[in-house]
Subunit: 123 residues, 2 copies
DNA sequence: TCGACATTTCGACAGATATCGAATTATAGG
DNA sequence: CCTATAATTCGATATCTGTCGAAATGTCGA
């Protein structure tokens, strides 16, 4: 029950669902997700930690960068099915489509350049 | 996105998940769910309302009693898949099994007798 | 019509959660 | 070694949420 609840709670937030949608098919670093969601990096870090604790997202650290990806085939059934369900629901969703569009633009920038840009523009 | 979030939020509470589990295969009236969950009836009513707004649960009123059942085949795909997912996850769960066991005892009482019993024992 | 009663709604309150900015940690490169 | 920087952790705060009991609503039976 605790595992199940961790998953539903992790998915009970709009920005975390958007993050899951962004990760479909890609591995992304934190600053890329920050760019699309438009939240403070500390906030996004927290969100990703919650998704990770629910085992929906895997983490990999490389140098200064933290990379995130969706859990893969060897995750527990409950986790895998949850991801399949969310992605299917989002496939019919408007906000999901908007985010994916913006993500394409963000993906064109190298992570390094992107992080630099975030440092500059304190808008 | 709003629909999807309504579902994940509805499922992001332990007592609401237990309620969904109880409804598998049955239609139950409010006082039966109250008996198993051990919460104030006003609280359970609120929980069922949240599940209903997410379209996970259908409501039927008959006389003084309110009956609840899981959404059926003509619910939206996202709703149906969510129910399937939760029930599958709960099938492997300990608390789910405990609740189902207690439910059997509660189901042996008629709703009418049950409600009377709740009135008497203000423990 | 009146009283009993199952349910819902309302008001209050405690605890959880999302968010930010500041401080901290860890790492790459000069 | 020292600095810049990506990420995380921490402290504060505002909002949301679960819960209860009291009041309101609607329905049955006398």
């Amino acid at each position: 029950m605790r595992d199940l609840l961790a998953i539903t709670k992790a998915l009970a937030d709009e920005n975390r669902i958007r993050a899951v949608a962004l990760l479909e098919g890609h591995e992304l670093c934190l600053c890329q997700i920050v760019e699309v969601l438009g939240l403070a990096s500390s906030t996004v870090s927290r969100h990703m930690s919650i998704l990770h604790q629910a085992r929906l997202v895997e983490t990999r650290k490389q140098g200064r960068w933290a990379y995130f990806r969706l859990a893969d085939e060897d995750a527990p059934d409950t986790v895998r099915d949850a991801i399949v369900w969310v992605l299917a629901a989002l496939a019919r969703d408007k906000q999901g489509k908007l985010d994916r569009k913006e993500l394409k633009a963000v993906l064109k920038m190298e992570p390094e350049e992107l992080c630099r840009r975030q440092g500059e523009c304190k808008c």
